[in-house]
């Protein structure tokens, strides 16, 4: 047999059909085969020889995501908007009594899982002191919710995150999630760090409010009656005996509405609050939460810095990006500024967000760059600092590179970073803030030097 006739004819016809777009101008745009790629048939890839096998293998198994290796991308802050924050940080660094620097980081799903924020918290507290874990929700609205250093288990709560808009009153607390409970609802929080000195429960005082009880390692710390003639956000603080690892909060009577627990230490340091909502978008802060209620929460927490870190979820809604995002961002900034005028505001752009194209290549979603540009412009106009996460992590196509990294730095949705990827972003943010802080200290030193010089010359005269 020279060639099996029917198969040969089928294959030749198929080849002719495949090459038709090359010869028929009308269908020239309908190529399905790139004939030049067939050169790859004889393209042999030799085994890559390692130059330094030990180092390369260690790098592969544990990529260096340390803060030292992060390439600094300076914060964009021409108006020195972060000065009040840096001043507070300076006081904290000097260990001035009661000098706690508080940061509120509002974000979407990575923040919900305390990715990025946990790394930044760790770095701040390592360098400036640990003033406590800060705020955590009383339960897990999503299985994905979690804070590094805390284990949270809860049952019996009716959980309402702000983005579901189920509550007409908009009273969602600092963390934008409300927990309504009746008798039997309870939460258990296990602390990895047993050196916290106090815990503060935030809740809603309301007409016919019930009561809740707080236990620490099985011992009652107190019972709180939430009944009040007026509906108002309330906070009840408890001292924690040294070494407490487990807290239990339970609804003992009637209906209560809780928001979260805030863990503090009575030492100077940084309190970095991770406030994430799954699927969050900027309108949550701009309009879904009640303005006065949220302002009360912010005023109570007295932040030195508020980080607004949204955009990933919005980036696939092109029309929203082009018509509404700017308005919503402006509204959010206005709300924060009105509530806590003394706090600095940092707009943190979203990370890259990938999508897979018809050629299998993972590219950045088209509207993301526009969204980042809007954030940068609004930040400049409104005197806020801006951190371009998207560019800092590598710009367009980063998620594609991260997906193919070994080990992977982003999940298969090309949105959520793996812990290694989150650590890189956390380090980038921290290093940029640190650089800004060093510049601030240098400015202060120069001013002091100039003052001293001025005084000496006056004395000399």
């Amino acid at each position: 047999m020279l060639l099996p006739p029917k198969v040969t004819l089928t294959l030749l016809t198929l080849a002719a059909l495949l090459s038709a777009p090359d010869f028929i101008p009308v269908i020239k745009d309908y190529h399905v085969i790139d004939w030049t790629s067939f050169a790859k048939v004889v393209d042999f890839q030799p085994r890559i020889k390692s130059q330094n096998p030990i180092e390369e293998e260690q790098q592969r198994l544990k990529p260096d995501t340390s803060v030292e290796k992060a390439e600094v991308r300076p914060l964009i802050d021409p108006a020195n908007a972060l000065e009040p924050f840096f001043a507070s940080l300076y006081s904290t660094e000097r260990k001035d009594p009661g000098a706690v620097t508080r940061i509120l980081h509002y974000g979407d799903s990575p923040t919900t899982a305390d990715l990025i924020t946990a790394d930044v918290r760790f770095l701040f507290q390592k360098d400036f002191g640990d003033a406590g874990h800060g705020f955590a929700l009383v339960g897990k609205p999503w299985a994905w919710y979690g804070h590094r250093g805390l284990e949270i288990k809860s049952s019996g709560w009716k959980i309402e995150p702000a983005n579901t808009a189920e509550l007409k009153d908009g009273f969602y607390g600092l963390g934008a999630v409300s927990f309504r409970g009746s008798a039997g609802a309870q939460s258990r929080i296990i602390l990895k760090d047993a050196t916290h000195s106090s815990v503060e429960v935030s809740f809603l005082s309301q007409v016919e409010g019930g009561s809740f009880r707080l236990l620490a390692d099985g011992n009652e710390l107190g019972t709180v009656d939430t009944a009040s003639p007026v509906v108002t956000p309330s906070f009840q603080s408890f001292n924690l005996p040294f070494g407490v690892r487990e807290l239990q909060i339970s609804n003992v009577f009637g209906r209560v509405r809780l928001y979260g627990l805030r863990f503090s230490k009575s030492v100077p340091g940084v309190e970095y609050n991770s406030l994430g909502v799954n699927g969050a978008y900027i309108s949550i802060l701009a309009r879904m939460v009640d303005e006065q209620h949220w302002a009360d929460q912010l005023q109570h927490h007295r932040p030195n810095l508020v980080i607004i870190n949204y955009g990933t979820n919005e980036s696939v809604y092109t029309q929203f990006v082009d018509t509404a995002f700017e308005r919503e961002l402006l509204r959010t900034i206005a709300r924060v500024r009105k509530a806590v005028p003394q706090a600095a505001i940092l707009i943190m752009s979203p990370m890259d967000r990938g999508q897979k194209g018809s050629d299998g290549e993972i590219t950045t979603v088209p509207a993301l760059a526009r969204l980042v540009a809007i954030e940068q412009r609004v930040a400049a106009e409104k005197g806020c600092a801006f951190f371009n996460t998207f560019e800092a992590m590598g710009g367009p196509g980063t998620m594609g590179r991260w997906y193919h990294a070994e080990p992977r730095l982003v999940g298969a949705d090309f949105i959520h970073p793996m812990p290694g990827g989150a650590k890189i972003v956390g380090n980038l943010l921290y290093k940029s803030l640190q650089q800004g802080y060093r510049a601030h200290k240098l400015r202060i030193a120069k001013e002091k030097f100039a003052t001293i010089k001025g005084l000496s010359s006056t004395q000399a005269n």
């Binding site: 020279l2 198929l14 899982a113 994905w144």
Partner: protein, 465 residues
């Protein structure tokens, strides 16, 4: 060179046009195939050009020895040498990192770095190669005198990445057959199988992987219990369509060269018990494990040992899939389930009427198989634990499962449970069609893959094993 890539099909077409004119001369045809086999290996790594011929030649020499020597001690020594060679190669080039990692974990001392990992195809090569020497040792086959036929059979490229694991003596018999030919019906069936394999892999398996499975397994906490469960079911379908798609392309490619390979799947998720499942899933591996491992284990006449042997066989079968405890647990789960099922059947008698209807038994079997897939798919035990935890949360939202995804899932389920007679009818309609219609159908498939799949091909899952 993936079996779903355009370069592979150019390679296969070129071989087709080279091989058939040369096949008039047996040696020339075999030489063309051997060249193609080694060309295929070299595309993965040039080191294979040293490793595979060396091991195959050793097995060939051992085979000659087994044909010549009749003294049991010598024969045992020879087959042991072959086992040592093939399993040693498997240990050295695939399992060494796993062995060293566990050494470090147990001893607390850092293990030396191992640079010689060539996992691709080694497992399939080793198992396939051992069929030759073990069959000769058991006198189930006769040794070939042709080194060329032996080298070609042991490295036959369609089977080497992910099976089907074919007995080398069977392949040699086909290679040594004079006056080979390919009739129009078999040729058309080959093209049909290749097309079907691509459809399964690129339009179904990859879609499910990209749009649900990978996401759910990466971050189970982002999804509700119902979505995670859907993801686990989707993985069961993905794995089936991925692997059976690969097998179809492999069987079709071999058939295009006049070689018939064994079937590997027979509607596995229609199995009514776990033993039935293993008669339908990865049939060539099940047969290999049964014939070459299970039957070799001691204690056949003991009351308890056969059950332990099932568990041992499946645990080793799990480890064969990958150097990780996940695969061991997956194998153990299947081993224990098979032992229990076998015990139950023995106790009740083979012909006893089951208590429950067939659909219910199929349902339960599929649930168990899907549960075990969690360990198979997870990259480590922690991830498997997270998936199981999330299933236990009992949350019901299905917001993350889009309508197109439901449609693809429905097509995948319907495709899996398509009655055999319907499938054969479709295939034979293609076979009887004129060549122009066949070419047009294949062209339509390529266009569909280009414009519908639109994701770029992922590697076949089983090429990792």
């Amino acid at each position: 060179m993936l079996l779903s890539s355009s370069t592979y099909f150019l390679f296969l077409s070129a071989l087709f046009f080279l091989y058939w004119p040369l096949s008039r001369w047996r040696a020339a045809g075999l030489a063309a195939l051997l060249f193609a086999n080694y060309f295929f290996y070299a595309k993965w790594d040039l080191f294979y050009l040293f490793l595979i011929p060396l091991c195959s030649t050793c097995d060939f020499a051992i085979g000659l020895g087994l044909g010549r020597f009749q003294r049991p001690a010598v024969r045992k020594l020879l087959v042991s040498l072959s086992l040592l060679l093939n399993l040693g190669m498997l240990a050295a080039f695939k399992y060494m990192p796993f062995i060293l990692e566990n050494f470090t974990r147990l001893s607390g001392r850092p293990a030396p770095l191992w640079q010689w990992t060539f996992p691709l195809g080694i497992s399939f090569y080793a198992f396939q190669s051992l069929t030759y020497t073990i069959d000769l040792y058991r006198k189930d086959a006769k040794p070939t005198q042709s080194l060329l036929a032996h080298l070609t059979a042991t490295s036959f490229f369609p089977t080497i990445l992910a099976g089907p694991i074919t007995r080398v003596p069977d392949l040699i018999k086909q290679f040594e057959k004079p006056n080979k030919s390919l009739d129009a019906a078999d040729g058309s069936r080959a093209l049909f199988l290749i097309g079907l394999g691509l459809l399964k892999k690129l339009l179904l398996a990859d879609y499910l992987a990209e749009n649900l499975v990978n996401r759910v397994f990466d971050f189970p906490g982002l999804y509700s219990s119902a979505e995670v469960l859907t993801g686990v079911y989707a993985y069961a379908l993905q794995l089936y369509f991925d692997f059976s798609g690969y097998t179809d392309v492999a069987i079709g490619s071999a058939l295009l060269l006049g070689i018939k390979l064994p079937q590997n799947f027979n509607m596995p998720y229609a199995a009514t018990n776990i033993n039935d499942f293993w008669r339908r899933w990865h049939i060539s591996l099940s047969n290999w494990l049964r014939d070459y491992l299970f039957f070799s284990l001691p204690g056949k006449r003991n009351a308890v040992m056969p059950y332990c042997n099932i568990i041992i066989t499946m645990a080793l079968g799990g480890l064969w899939h990958g150097a990780s405890w996940n695969f061991v647990i997956w194998g153990l789960l299947h081993g224990v389930a098979q032992a229990v099922a076998r015990g139950w059947q023995s106790w009740r008698g083979q012909k006893a009427t089951p208590f429950t209807p067939a659909w219910f038994r199929t349902f339960c079997t599929v649930q168990f198989v899907c549960f075990a897939w969690i360990f198979f798919r997870s990259t480590n035990l922690e991830q498997a634990g997270k998936i199981i935890d999330q299933l236990g949360e009992l949350t019901y939202s299905l917001d993350n499962v889009s309508r197109p995804l439901w449609i693809v899932l429905a097509i995948a389920i319907a495709g899996h449970y398509l009655p055999k007679s319907w499938f054969e009818q479709i295939r034979e309609t293609f076979v009887r069609s004129p060549f122009v219609v066949q070419a047009a159908a294949l062209m339509a498939l390529i266009v569909a893959i280009q414009y519908i799949a639109a994701t770029g091909a992922a590697p076949f899952i089983y090429t990792n094993f």
